[in-house]
Assembly symmetry: none
């Protein structure tokens, strides 16, 4: 998918991380969202077995991390850096939601390198580190408890970037559109065939006939109740095969199987 | 903020969680996004010191978690359950992105209880658990490595819910009430009440009984066929009143009205 290519231009930068577990969890979060460029500025413990354990299937991302002494070194070649902040700052940085940061960042990442920069677990980004960033993103957390785990914050930012990238591709959008409209069923091999109009009408006739037979519908005024049932099945967007299942029930409603034990 | 009120109608349900650390991390993820209703179905270790350690400032959410033996018990009173899946399923559950799931879920959470349901770390939700859900959400992860940590998946889902709640103001939600999600139902004055989990389960029991009675289901192996029917009705998101209509049909299927002319 071409729309995901800009993710290769995005690096995740962790500054002075205290807990190696968070470094491992970050590697895992990155890889699940399709990110691979990992930078560690002055980590307290790296490499570390706890980091490797928590990286799970993303040890490649972890092991390829680039360690630097300063944030400036980690940003070499970057055209844009987005800092993540858990708290409001006094400085006149522009603060946006992760969604808006993703939009702005991805636009630049089409052609140039960018960075997402995360501070320490305890105090976030220092003012000096913030000065290296062009944009500040803040996850709109619960004001009564806004302390996301570091790797969780990375997961959310990477997720937003990936979602935005996927939305960009025109074909992807078309696919998503169908998902929303059709309720994106999981196609069995060969795909699922929705019932067509004739199938549906045959089913509705069969249903009406059966409901008259069992005395559910009043033959004098069957309309209102039946309309409600039609609407219910319309919402389900029946598949061809499901029509067959339902009509099988209708047939047996009128003529139950002789060998039924019930 | 009034727009965040529906979050109180949303419960996070973890099924058969293996690692207590994930339970603690989930509590923290929940609280940072403003969620508090935590259900644990058959957890392997709870309470546990590791869970408490990772819950950090969210020990209140952790300590107030409700433990149940079955998923059905955890869903008592819920009108809608969204299951999270990491993999494509063969059966025809509706699968959407977390963003679309958040939209649909929050709309119902305006007035009724809903649940986000997460499976085990190793294998996700079982088919039986999936059958208790009306919608499946899938985080569009890297197909080469799609294994998000459990608590990370909770963080992403809760983040989407919170973002969507913040984006909506009350009036906008009211306007939305009639469209997309409910398949364009005509909202009766006073709104539509969706069937809750118990209504649904009673309907499914009644349906199964009736289908056995007419000889449609094979008493020796009723499972597969019945699952398909459950999924069909799950997609329709049945209203309370529709359940009554359908159960009326089932009753007459077994005992047709004497005065029927057919």
């Amino acid at each position: 998918m071409n729309s995901l290519k800009p993710l290769n231009n995005i690096r995740i930068v962790l500054c002075a991380t205290s807990h190696p577990g968070n470094i491992g969890s970050t590697a895992r979060a990155m890889k699940t969202m399709g990110f691979q460029n990992f930078y560690l500025v002055n980590p307290q413990h790296y490499p570390d077995p706890q980091a490797s354990a928590l990286a799970a299937g993303a040890t490649d991302v972890l092991d390829n991390a680039i360690v630097t002494n300063t944030l400036s070194e980690a940003l070499v070649g970057c055209a844009f850096a987005i800092g993540l902040s858990a708290r409001k700052r006094n400085l006149s940085h522009e603060i946006v939601t992760p969604r808006i940061a993703a939009q702005q960042g991805l636009q630049i990442a089409q052609n140039q390198q960018i960075a997402l920069v995360f501070g320490t677990e305890m105090s976030g980004l220092s003012n000096a580190e913030l000065d290296c960033c062009q944009l500040l993103a803040m996850i709109p957390a619960n004001p009564e408890y806004s302390s996301l785990n570091l790797a969780m914050a990375v997961q959310v930012m990477c997720y937003e970037m990936r979602m935005h990238a996927l939305e960009q591709d025109v074909l992807e959008l078309k696919a998503l559109k169908n998902d929303a409209l059709r309720g994106n069923r999981d196609a069995a091999p060969g795909g699922i065939e929705l019932a067509n109009n004739e199938d549906l009408e045959r089913f509705y006739s069969h249903l009406e006939e059966t409901l008259l037979h069992i005395g559910y519908l009043n033959p004098a005024a069957p309309k209102k109740l039946f309309e409600r049932l039609r609407r219910l099945y319309a919402r389900a967007r029946l598949e061809k095969e499901e029509i067959n299942l339902l009509r099988g029930i209708l047939t047996l409603t009128v003529t139950p199987k002789k060998h039924s034990k019930y």
